[in-house]
Symmetry: C2
Subunit: 353 residues, 2 copies
């Protein structure tokens, strides 16, 4: 069994707790938020985390104002891997947390779902310190950066030179306050805003900004770390990567299908575009937490091989672990409804006729 | 510099020689076919290989009836990685060659672009022998299996259970005899054929089969190793994977866009389909040789970390190496025309408005 901890119990952290519960091999042993931390070597129930207003209200938890450090310092020998699911406002927040984690003496795999270029660069700069500390840090392992960056890195293999990588995401959220931190990060990308400004805004001010835009955030040329990650991975220089998207904060339906288009020139001189498109029914929670878990697993494989320091999702293939046999029952207990299976194969065979 | 050798000088091998010439870091030092082998530590010119009727006709080559073993035995200390670009008819051919390579004492990375399930299983069975011999063998690293299998493995991260993986490929070849071995392998998948039968057929008999079908091979439920590779990688059981496609042996234009569709259930109980589509202008040569080269590079990284035995393209992210600054000049010398760059970014920004 792999013992995982989650730093942060917002939308991402809570959903990760639910996902881990459906998986074999993984065991959630620790989680924290600003109120305190919970550690249980026998495993923490996902639903308990989901339903808790704050971690300190869960029986067995330890109230703490420095819960991240207390959790890790006290239990680091029982934790193999940590998902940093904290809101990264301002940019230096997660890099600072990383420095604190280094000081605890934790040895293992850190994974984040960071978004901004500058933040990922700051993590990359910690490479020597992380190597010295015996930590492997996989950065940018969510959806974008993450799943789509890795897809771009993979698709680039057909080309001798990559001319353009264009990532377009669509996000639909029925209710903005489930993903407050994520929406705040998105607003920080809008013209006239930045992480520092947004971190000083009240929820009311955020709502006012959303109202102005009819609930829809239209994002162009975002500062998104896909660019440096693809540069680090030799795919292309950062200026060839563009990230934009539409976020509807009032409808669960995505305003546009999330996709990445990779245009390049082949060794035969031809220019062409590969495309990777995510199914509209997959949520941000599924497309971020799934990859993070996959990178935790492949990160532990690389850790055992002696890899230390910083890698990104564009360098590594995330590994899969199977679901528990009774995962559908667990989903039901977690409050999710079962959908019928589609007729994918038959559709395909009909298409081929 | 990475010193690479190619076993086989058919369509794939020749194109790989041209591709390697356009890349930094890589140096083609050895190549062989049934007539003999060529070794040159200073690098072998791609065009020389392309234009040669057979390897033994190239100045400096060594005629040999057991050229694979002679090449590797004589120069194994100067070869880091080997691409096995041999036609795999019958199924046990490449596994047998692997056993011969093991006997030479070669230490390094082997990469193949095998297609059939049984052949990949036979390579997987050699895992203990390869570990003992100090070899890392990456199997199924072409287009499909390969690029599309890795894309399926990556896309699976959004799901708790993968319900269906459907690979559909389109191949357009202006002239079948450029890819004789590949076309033969495709015919071996048709009803009433198998590798043994096809290996006994003359070129005239192959042409007759193609004539019967107006030059188009329609392939359903092929025995394709994507199934076992995704099973090994915990993505899904092999019975959930289907591979089919259309091969036009008389037109360079693809009869259908090559794509893989991955359908699964998310941790929230939703069923959805991710899709990865290859640009029509990319040829089989680009989509096979590019990934093979990428797997050679990441294979060498893993080799240095101590990984030995058998992995597949679904387990590992291929790494990229940059093109030479003057790669466009090299393409011109190789006989390829330069295409103008498209307006990808502008199109995107227009779309977003």
């Amino acid at each position: 069994m792999i013992n995982a901890a989650i730093l942060g119990a917002g939308g991402l952290g809570k959903n990760m707790a639910l996902l881990i519960e459906q998986k074999k091999e993984f065991n959630l042993v620790g989680i924290c938020d600003s109120s305190g931390y919970l550690f249980n070597e026998n495993g923490i129930n996902g639903l308990t985390v989901k339903e808790a207003k704050e971690i300190a209200s869960i029986p067995g938890s330890v109230p703490s104002s420095k819960s991240i450090i207390d959790l890790i310092s006290s239990h680091k020998d029982k934790i193999n891997t940590i998902f940093i699911a904290l809101p990264n406002l301002p940019n230096e927040f997660i890099p600072n947390v990383t420095n604190e984690i280094i000081k605890t003496g934790f040895k293992g795999v850190l994974v984040d779902a960071l978004k901004r270029t500058r933040a990922v660069e700051m993590i990359k700069d910690l490479d020597p310190e992380l190597k010295k500390a015996g930590i492997l840090y996989l950065t940018g392992c969510g959806a974008t950066p993450g799943l789509l960056t890795a897809a771009a890195s993979l698709a680039a293999q057909s080309f001798v030179e990559v001319l353009d990588v264009t990532i377009t995401f669509g996000v639909g959220i029925a209710n903005w306050d489930t993903y407050k931190a994520t929406i705040r990060e998105d607003i920080a990308h809008l013209e006239g805003f930045n992480p520092e400004i947004v971190s000083r805004m009240s929820d009311e001010e955020i709502i006012k900004e959303l109202d102005k835009r009819n609930g829809v955030l239209e994002l162009h040329n975002m500062e998104h770390a896909d660019d440096v990650m693809l540069e680090f991975a030799n795919v292309c220089s950062r200026d060839k990567v563009t990230v934009g998207g539409l976020v509807d904060t009032r409808n669960a339906k995505k305003p546009i299908s999330t996709n990445v288009r990779i245009t390049g020139r082949t060794f035969e001189g031809r220019i062409s575009t590969h495309q990777f498109v995510l199914g509209d029914e997959t949520t941000m929670a599924a497309n971020v937490n799934g990859p993070v878990l996959g990178y935790m697993k492949s990160g532990l494989w690389l850790y055992d091989l002696g890899v230390r320091g910083v890698l990104t999702s564009a360098d590594v293939m995330p590994h899969l672990m199977p679901a528990k046999e009774n995962y559908l029952e667990i989903q039901e207990k977690q409050g999710y409804q079962k959908e019928k299976e589609p007729i994918g194969r038959k559709e395909f065979q009909k298409m081929m006729k």
